[in-house]
Symmetry: none
Subunit: 427 residues, 2 copies
């Protein structure tokens, strides 16, 4: 069996080529392939056109070892991936009785009969195998073309991702002569270009391990990738050496020496010390709570909180003094502090984070421009920490910066770190 | 001069193919092209490899009338778009004195000399023209290949977008004989395959207007695209006729006859009737509030709410009877009803939605498996509506289904519709 040295990702759908939907699958698959030692060299997206899909599959099979197709596996007549793969392989479509039973069982487990339309999802190119989908009705496909492996996965990321992981753990054949090992550190509190400045020549493109950064609303991830080591032991040793280096330089900015997202890192610290957290959100409207509770097991530390979107809710539910809002406004140090301390009192949690700001696009003024956000942290055993930030970007970006920065403040307190959280805040 | 009937977008860069950066340019350009009457049929992304870039340009020039290339115009050695276009056109690179003067002026206006490295940005394929960049150092390019126009724009959206607009206003030639018009309907309450079954032959691929569906955790969008009408009037008339058809068939499932997302549709209805909404969330942990407040202007109807993640918060903050939780559990009809009515009372809103369930992966039991969610809707002027759902999928999916379904229930009440909300719930 040939190795999978290079890969291409083909995304299918009018909704993508017409710009109605943003393709995020290609990025996710590329990252995973890189982690696994396979090099993605091309992404392609074509509309729901049988000839264009099969043409793209045929062409990509000639240039790479692995073609990953996403989308077009649904039950409707514009779902053409099955037929396009059959055409590219020059074989017929056949009904797979096992796939049919799985789809029927999927509906039965929901107490329903399979709609007749879904029967088409049990068809596969005669020479292909089907891939089990535990989270939806569309089975995937895998097939061997001349010189390349083709796998087809459904478009929804929640179905695509676990199916890819299952397939790669059994069938992916990364090059054996090239050892690729990757580790990730997570930082919060300094911007990407600040960190690049601190790392200097450590980020040179001809080094091995290679060090790279990616930034996402305040979180700067640092990837360390070894590609030229002669053994995995050597690669791990090389990476360990780089990480010791990075630890020296970045120190308290590092909040995780693995791929742990910020909410999970916060919750781990709270749970391991038996502490609890509440939240009071105004401009983020529940985003912080949503990010925390996206982590399974959050209930061991997160009590809950309030979305005090209206001024009335701030006053009646968390006890903000109406005169404070009248005098200083809802977006003020005073209001942020009362939201945090009021939430702490009423929730009886050990810590309470509050966020109040102007996410825009409307509502800004010269004194309080869009992006102005006050974040408060009240704790049972420490005096309140209230800070003002000015984030730049869209409404979504400002809200995400605010939620991340609130978690960054709590993380500093939990780790006993003093420091600014500015970096390229609002970059 | 031939018309630009079809277009392809080629994005250049290792950071894209390796998944370090998400490509948003292709979506933006596709939307603009559609608005302008040009049909994008393919997106492609290749790494910083001269041969792959020039190969992609040559290939795309054979299939479409307009090839838009983004990225690879910077000053470093991995910026290869200029050389790749020259190779695809079979011409040499020449230095453009006007482009050089513009780059020098750009630096001068910032009080600096042009770094020597940037001189390379003044080179262009001999047969190409350069496009002015007012927001950065990289000039764009435009060139005629056999059968296609090629334009090259820098990668940063803040430079790319104004350059595209400037170019299209002068040089784009949308088809005068082929009119493309698109509209979208949004539905909630039935699954994609149910809707496909209801629409039957309306979804045939050879019809014009062409009707297609896409599904996203309960929301099924229906696109109607006219491509063969003889005038925009005719196209709009054809689409109107299809929409009347769809209205007859899908009736109350349609919640919007435009591209409006569900939260915005709910808020529009509330605002236009002067009503307000509160939320009490357990398993969704703030997701519903976050989705509502992602809409700018939400404060005109959304008061806020509670994230009653712990049982204590349910009791102390919203007034759930401790005996109810003891007897029926927090995931029960009785608890969902008390959460909704307690939230209604305390917020003084006109409606209050509550969500309590088991998002998993842990916490399920035989009687209440993972995915069991009770949703309550209390209103000032109607009796409570409490329903049980069983959603399948990951923790994220179950939570998103729950939040969408809660909004679907409120939308039914606001529109005076009775009906199940099952569809492929949990698809």
């Amino acid at each position: 069996m040939p190795e999978h040295q290079t890969a291409a990702i083909l995304s299918i759908g009018d909704e993508l080529t017409l710009g109605q939907k943003l393709d995020t699958n290609s990025q996710w698959l590329s990252r995973r392939l890189m982690d696994l030692g396979v090099q993605p060299v091309e992404h392609a997206t074509v509309d729901d056109d049988l000839e264009r899909i099969s043409g793209a599959i045929t062409r990509l099979c000639e240039v790479v070892d692995l073609v990953i197709v996403t989308g077009g596996l649904g039950p409707t007549s514009d779902d053409l991936t099955r037929a396009a793969v059959a055409r590219a392989l020059g074989v017929d479509l056949v009904e797979d009785p096992r796939a049919l039973r799985m789809i029927e069982a999927w509906y039965r487990s929901r107490g329903r009969d399979m709609p007749p339309a879904n029967r088409v999802q049990a068809f596969r190119p005669a020479s292909a195998r089907f891939l089990v989908n535990r989270n939806g009705t569309a089975p995937g496909l895998s097939a061997m073309a001349t010189g390349a492996t083709i796998i087809c996965l459904p478009g929804p990321p929640s179905e695509m991702r676990p199916m890819f992981e299952r397939w790669q753990s059994r069938r992916l054949r990364p090059p054996t002569d090239r050892i690729v090992r990757t580790r990730v550190l997570q930082t919060f509190g300094a911007g990407e270009s600040n960190i690049a400045g601190m790392l200097g020549s450590l980020m040179d493109r001809d080094r091995d391990p290679l060090i790279g950064t990616t930034a996402s609303t305040g979180v700067v991830s640092i990837r360390i990738r070894s590609e030229k080591a002669s053994s995995t032991q050597q690669a791990d040793k090389d990476i360990d050496r780089e990480i010791a280096h990075l630890r020296d330089i970045l120190g308290p900015l590092i909040y995780s020496e693995s791929d742990t997202p910020l909410p999970e890192a916060i919750l781990q610290r709270l749970i391991s010390t038996g502490q609890s957290l509440a939240t009071v959100e105004s401009c983020t409207g529940g985003l912080l709570g949503q990010m925390l509770t996206a982590v399974s097991g959050a209930s061991d530390a997160y009590a809950g909180g309030w979305v005090t979107y209206s001024n009335a809710m701030k006053q009646t539910q968390v006890g903000v003094d109406p005169q404070i809002i009248e005098r200083f406004g809802a977006v003020s140090r005073e209001c942020a502090e009362q939201l945090a301390s009021g939430g702490l009192l009423r929730s009886e949690a050990d810590h309470c984070l509050s966020i109040t700001g102007i996410a825009g696009p409307g509502g800004g003024s010269e004194a309080k421009p869009v992006g102005t956000v006050w974040i408060g942290l009240a704790s049972a055993d420490a005096s309140p920490d209230v800070r003002r930030f000015l984030f730049k970007g869209s409404r979504d970006q400002i809200r995400l910066w605010a939620a991340n920065t609130a978690m960054g403040m709590l993380r500093q307190r939990l780790d006993g770190i003093e420091g600014e959280l500015l970096g390229e805040a609002g970059r």
